[in-house]
């Protein structure tokens, strides 16, 4: 079975991140990493491959050329092959522009299963899979806490506000996994060494038959207008419990009509 895993590069969790006040885009000049949520999608793909004994795991990333190392990390962890869509025309792409590019890259691969992580740790975006599935005209399930594959059907336990749904979809399908689905492995030394020999393809917008005018900032329909500080919470009250804390809390809440 061929499984494609969509991955992205994000600022390293410990890095101080900021939005560039000039461009109003995330400043990505600091240390970068593979999006930790995507590691769960990659892990699930590798587990499926290991269970079935054959198949191919292709990691697909849309990012500037400098993000190639993060994609190589996916190879070091265990993906068989990487496709890097890198093109200056893609800078500033919003949800739909990004989905268009990834859909084209995935159409070339024709995977039976497309896996994504549950969100980007930088943008908190948790929407890409559904846009992608619509463009690919494939069924989609998100928030997968477990995934079983049998006879060309994926059965997914979906986490919702109300508990767990069980949803089945015929393959090919798009599935976004929750981070509860598994514990991702780390790359081994052997994996890191072996990654250098794995196929790594870099493609541009033209290779995918896309019109640059539909992509990047020009092809995006959302914009960032301004930045502001978060609203201040005002003064806070400190109570050291001497046995009367409960009464003091009640007093505070009732003064503010919260009871």
């Amino acid at each position: 079975m061929k499984i494609a895993v969509c991955v992205k590069e994000v600022p390293e969790a410990s890095a101080r991140t900021r939005i560039d006040p000039g461009t109003l885009r995330l400043d990505r000049s600091g240390t970068a990493a593979l999006n930790p949520f995507d590691a769960h999608a990659l892990e699930e793909a590798l587990r499926v491959k290991e269970r079935t004994g054959d198949g191919e795991v292709v990691a697909v990333m849309m990012a500037p050329a400098r993000a190639a190392d993060s994609l190589r990390k996916a190879l070091a962890i265990g993906a068989d092959r990487a496709v890097h869509v890198a093109d200056e025309a893609l800078e500033g792409s919003d949800l739909v522009a990004t989905a268009k590019v990834l859909a084209k890259a995935l159409e070339r691969e024709e995977p039976e299963l497309v896996l994504l992580g549950q969100q980007g740790s930088d943008s908190d975006g948790a929407v890409l899979w559904s846009a992608l599935a619509d463009l690919l005209r494939l069924p989609v399930v998100s928030q997968a806490a477990s995934l079983e594959l049998e006879d060309g059907t994926a059965t997914v336990k979906r986490q919702t506000e109300y508990g767990y749904d069980v949803i089945s979809v015929p393959l090919p399908a798009v599935v976004a996994v929750s981070d509860a689905i598994n514990e991702p492995r780390y790359p081994s030394l052997k994996g890191i060494m072996g990654a250098k020999k794995k196929p790594f393809e870099t493609v541009g917008v033209g290779d995918l038959g896309l019109d640059p005018g539909e992509l990047g900032a020009a092809g995006s329909r959302t914009e960032v207008l301004a930045l502001a500080d978060p609203p201040s919470r005002g003064d806070s009250v400190r109570i050291e419990d001497d046995g009367s804390a409960a009464e003091k809390i009640i007093e505070y809440l009732s003064e503010r009509k919260l009871l």
């Binding site: 991140t17 900021r18 939005i19 995330l26 949800l95 930088d122 943008s123 908190d124 948790a126 929407v127 890409l128 899979w129 559904s130 846009a131 992608l132 599935a133 619509d134 463009l135 005209r137 069924p139 989609v140 399930v141 998100s142 928030q143 806490a145 059965t155 919702t160 506000e161 109300y162 508990g163 749904d165 069980v166 949803i167 089945s168 979809v169 399908a173 981070d179 995006s220 329909r221 959302t222 914009e223 960032v224 930045l227 502001a228 978060p230 919470r233 806070s236 400190r238 109570i239 050291e240 419990d241 804390a245 409960a246 009464e247 003091k248 809390i249 009640i250 505070y252 919260l258 009871l259």
Partner: protein
Amino acid sequence: MATLVYLEDHEGELVKGSLGVLSKAAKLGDEVSAIVAGSGVTELAGEAGRYGATKVYAADDPALAAPLPQPRVDVLAEVIADGGFDTVLFGASVLAADVAAGLAARLGAGLNWDLVDLELRDGKLVGKRPALQDSVYVDVGWTDEPRLALVRSGTFEPVESGGEAQVEDVAVELQDFSQRAVMVERAHAESEGPSIEDADVIVAGGRGLGVPEKFALLEDLAKALGGAVAATRAVVDAGWYPYATQVGQTGKTVSPKLYLACGISGAIQHKVGMQSSGTIVAINKDPNAPIFEYADVGVVGDLHEIVPKLTELVKERRG
């Protein structure tokens, strides 16, 4: 602005978060329409009039019985095209986020998510989105129509304005690929009382409870306050409490009027899920717990002593 608000239904009721978005939309614009898509929902559709919709589309079809996104994308795409809507608003949920994103792709439209406010600036719609762990607030806009927006849950209160809506039936025609996902088993609410998205008061617990059984203390307090119980990722991962109640970066983002954090240290992953709450009260034994940095009331003490007393006092007050 010609605005359409997607109203989600669950177990025979319109979801509070989406009604809150409807009320906000009614405050912003002149005429606001809404759409309900499900099975046996025509009667529910009429209720939306009270929250400010002048017209409600009812897509009532057994094919929409399961809460799956893709059939709803088909229905909304038709209604938006026929009705000429330029703005489509959603209250965020697992279902609504997938509907909104699928629709954005279908219409080639811009989608802004996780909004905590919407306003008109010189007649132009502007959304406010907290970013980078809520350390910065970003004003976002749209460069073209239709404009799609997902609003963070709990952001807007439903306000009854007493109006009436005209209900219009919508013919449901679905794409082949939209019908391929099948609901095998549907989730059932695991607890009584409001869900954490709907609750005005949330009593949340973390590691400081010590053992899972102590969640009973929080359940008693939540019940007395008419609220819901939430949990941190650490205790959900440890199996103490269901995932549906998890607040934080990988769980839900909530903004109740009152958030009582009990035994929660308040790491950034938790903070992003609850810091837009109205009033935050934190009870923790550790005076250096990070949650005290953003709580309105920080109580240094033993929750096992304080919470039962609080419950008693609330019960007394409420008779």
